[in-house]
Amino acid sequence: MADLFLVLHTECDGSFSKAALESLSTAADLSSKLGSAYSVGVIGAGASAAADAIAGCGAEKFYTVEDEAVAAPRYSSDTKASAALIKAADAQIILAPGTSRFARCMPGAAYRTGAAVDTHIVALAVEDGKISAQRWYYRQRILTTLSRADRPWILLVDGGVSDAWQGDAGSAGAQAVAVDFGDADNRVVIKGVESPAVDAQTIRPDSAILFVAGAGWTKKQSDGEYHIGDAGVLIQGFLCKAGASLGSSKSLVDLQSDGQETLSFMSHMNQVGQTGSTPRHAKGLSTCCHGEEPHAVGWRFINERRAINTDANCGWAQGKADVVYIADAFEVMEKVNALLS
């Protein structure tokens, strides 16, 4: 029986993502706090070679599923493979990185293994042998510490909880777990990943800085005119020069679905906040955003925050940003871009 079990998946090139290696550090740390061994299961293309790449992580045993059926992410086959790994390891506490692939399939694997499941875990602690987990409720507004007596218990861990594991490769001697994939598991055909063109790739999770654009960029400016074209040039110029990731307020991307003229390189995928994403970056610069609570929600995991707004009463000034510049973002960003050139 594996008290503690970590499930990982490979990327399509057989490597592990940063999220996977971070959760490996989390599992190793939890195992030492519990004073018990842990095992690792890997699904996906090249799973056994990937297990060898992390052989030095201290796991007691490795299990793999690397059939063609799990070469690409797909609910039916991933759920079956994950459930099979959990059963093969007779696992009690199961950790997994909260990637889109596992966020999709782990609830189903929980159902099939009779496990409880909690997601978006941001911290784990052990006291007197008891595990507790932290997660936010109400979209990053209320933080809870919770535990469960239920076993098995699956916990999907968010990015940024631990540093990515680094260590020696070796021979993991992984045990291949047989999974009987049938026609029902192969009905959905994966056509591939659609990526924006390189110059249109505005979402960069690994970037040090998040640049958030608000609806103000599309509003009438002090000369009584709209300057949407200029706004696009300034924003894209900054993204390129600073290597920043682009976020948006809801109001700005909603203009697009309402059919109004706006910034064509932005979509709902860029939206941060209550109904958008909650990205993790070391720094964040908000421009032309009012920055009230739903928006601040999306900034929960941005460490250093600065904002540019013409309005000294904007929400950012209410203890939400470190610095608020009361200025015209068009003027300031033009100069910033010039200095970065």
Partner: protein
């Protein structure tokens, strides 16, 4: 293609502009003045409702059901606006809509309510909902409902569905780094847990509202009570961490100076 049966799971969450404060009740955590807080239809679930209505319009003979678990009185209030957005038949279940409840309990209740819809043909069914709620924000309920209904073709974080005449369809799901996973599914049933999709919020349409209300009131009267709780979770701490920053306001400073300070910060 014959008409689709699109079942949308969506409940209420506090209006995001409200300040939320946790309180500890005998049954577990809750929100201060929870019954008084104005509610909205859970945002991602509402996107899925608009997408369902749009799809139903394209395929003649289709029908949309909205399955909603929440306190009856609050559902009734919510329907005053939601019922004007899109044609649907309400299936109401009277129980807690708190984010602190256990998703497994919620999913069991929703699955039972869906199984009880008279004449529902799973071969023509698309099960829609939000990819995550603005309350529990776990992103697990739709998969759990799907599993209980025996549906193993599931898609999460959906922004697009394109139906073909033969009942097959293609889907775009959000994945990391602003990318999409593109796939095709040969037939229904399937679960689609939506992200934002691509449709704006429809304007209120009083005619649709009137038509819906004919079913809404009887559905609310028929709503069965469901006992939904925290399940196996023990909450040890529930708090709003202090997050007030000491904001420095920089005013009456030239754009040049601000730009220089910003660039130093960006590079630092």
């Amino acid at each position: 293609m014959e008409g689709l049966q699109i079942v949308v799971c969506g409940s209420l969450v506090p209006d995001p502009l409200q300040t939320l404060e946790p309180v500890i009740n005998p049954t577990g955590p809750g929100l201060k003045n929870e019954t008084m807080l104005p509610s909205v239809l859970d945002p991602w679930a509402s996107h899925s409702l608009y997408e369902a209505a749009n799809l139903a319009k394209q395929v003649a003979g289709s029908k949309v059901f909205l399955v909603s678990l929440g306190p009856k009185a609050k559902l009734q209030q919510l329907m005053m606006t939601v019922a004007q957005k899109a044609p649907f038949e309400l299936v109401a279940v009277d129980g807690s809509a708190s984010g602190f409840t256990d998703a497994m309990d919620v999913a069991k209740t929703l699955a039972a309510a869906i199984e009880a819809i008279p004449g529902l043909d799973k071969g023509k069914m698309l099960l829609f909902g939000g990819c995550s709620s603005a309350s529990r924000d776990a992103g697990v309920t739709m998969q759990l409902v799907g599993e209980q209904l025996g549906i193993t073709d599931q898609f999460v974080g959906v922004d697009e569905i394109k139906m073909q005449d033969d009942g097959s369809f293609s889907v775009l799901e959000r994945i990391e780094g602003g990318q999409y996973l593109a796939s095709t599914c040969p037939s229904m049933p399937a679960v689609l847990a939506w992200a934002t999709g691509s449709l704006p919020e429809p304007p209120n349409n009083p005619q649709i509202g009137m038509a819906n209300m004919r079913c809404v009131m009887p559905a609310l009267q028929k709503a069965k009570p469901a006992s939904i709780g925290v399940g196996g979770i023990s909450f040890e701490k529930t708090e709003i961490p202090a997050q007030k920053r000491d904001t420095r306001i920089v005013k009456d400073v030239s754009a040049d100076e601000i730009a220089a300070e910003l660039v130093e910060w960006i590079k630092g």
